[in-house]
Subunit: 278 residues, 2 copies
Amino acid sequence: MDGNIVIAGLGLIGGSLAKGLSGRAGRRVLGIDKDPQVIRDAVACGAIEREASPEDLRDAEFLFLCLYPQADVDFMAEHAAEIGQQCIVTDTCGIKNYVCPALQKIAQQYGFTFVGGHPMAGKERSGFAASEAELFDGASYILVPCGAPQEAVERLQKLVLQIGFGTTVVTTPEHHDEMIAFTSQIPHVLACAYVMSPHCMEHRGCSAGSYRDVSRVARINETLWSELFLDNREALLKELDTLVENITAIRTAVDQNDVPALRELLRRGRERKEALGE
Amino acid sequence: MDGNIVIAGLGLIGGSLAKGLSGRAGRRVLGIDKDPQVIRDAVACGAIEREASPEDLRDAEFLFLCLYPQADVDFMAEHAAEIGQQCIVTDTCGIKNYVCPALQKIAQQYGFTFVGGHPMAGKERSGFAASEAELFDGASYILVPCGAPQEAVERLQKLVLQIGFGTTVVTTPEHHDEMIAFTSQIPHVLACAYVMSPHCMEHRGCSAGSYRDVSRVARINETLWSELFLDNREALLKELDTLVENITAIRTAVDQNDVPALRELLRRGRERKEALGE
């Protein structure tokens, strides 16, 4: 029989998982959030059945940590003794090199299972009010087993596919963080750097899809993303340097009125997208 | 009574205008394209009634130049003597500082009217096959009168609103090109520079909306965009320097583990988007 699922942190991700797990997977979901109003809202809309008690951590089949990275580690350190040995604990952090070993260590110490996870979806709003079961439709769920038994990884995998994720990918913390620096962190740096142009405030009427798409995630949660960037400092710096180098190559071709060089650089961009079938 | 409309160049933009003008505005549209197959396709789907002859240029109410920038100037220089004095000639180029004065000069010489224009829509495919009447729905049409009579500007304005554009904006070539460097050219440089990262080819499963949105326009037409970039060299270089400066500020904060500085930089991005109501 399916056990309860406890979700700690009912923000955009935790709230959306709660809605998917209760609504779509028909699981009994219990929630933890520092804001009592969020608990009331989550109960009112059926995302959770009620607030989780320490006993619920003892009996849970899954515990999803959906707080900020350091807060996930702090939560687990504080509640480790309450978590049952049958429980699969998983996080949803956007970085893994720092968080996964810390959580894995506590899990080993207390005898329960930890499997890292990262749902690859989000939007430019945060908080429970922005959460929705549809957020994950067709998205990828990255699983970072960190030595967890295959059976536990498969149970988590099965669960996330039930709530609308389209694929799961299994990788290491190191590879995860390198890829995330490129796929997610760079676009967030770019969006913020882009909208700082003096021309941004007067873009209306002179812009279209390109402006909209590059600037979208500039509506950032700066507390969360500062933590994510700094916890992935090395990989992010490397990607930033690659990016600035590639921008500079195009800048040089423009500056020198070098048509063949410019065409060649842009052609490489197009061929990448074509090779990817995008 | 509404006169004929001639469209020179039935690519993505010219083809979409033809479909909108004939289908939505119920105008008689005649086309010019160097590829006879495109003319046949455009006639077959009703986008144009037939290929335009030199006499059609004499009688047309509007002539839309939808070629590449230099090709627009060359076309007008070659056909200026055939264009009737009642005709409003307009271009659809993505840059205006170079093209508009050149076209305006020919118009003055031959006694017809020129009004610059730039439909703010596009997509990451080119050619007539990619064209669609819906491309412009709700988009902005930038009008660059260059001294044309108000009555001619208003007729063009009325026409584009009939085919689905949501707004029109009137500006100068200089302001247009400064804004376009920011709203359109920078995102295209960025997209190409971004996908050149060695991690790009393995992004699948580890990416979501941010990757998709920043990389989208890397599927670029490098011949057209090299011309657009170099015809707007000064404004583009200025925006590129601003962008790299802002990326570097964030890079420095990450490198120095400077939490307050990083939060402050990201906060500025968020506040920009909020101030714009986006």
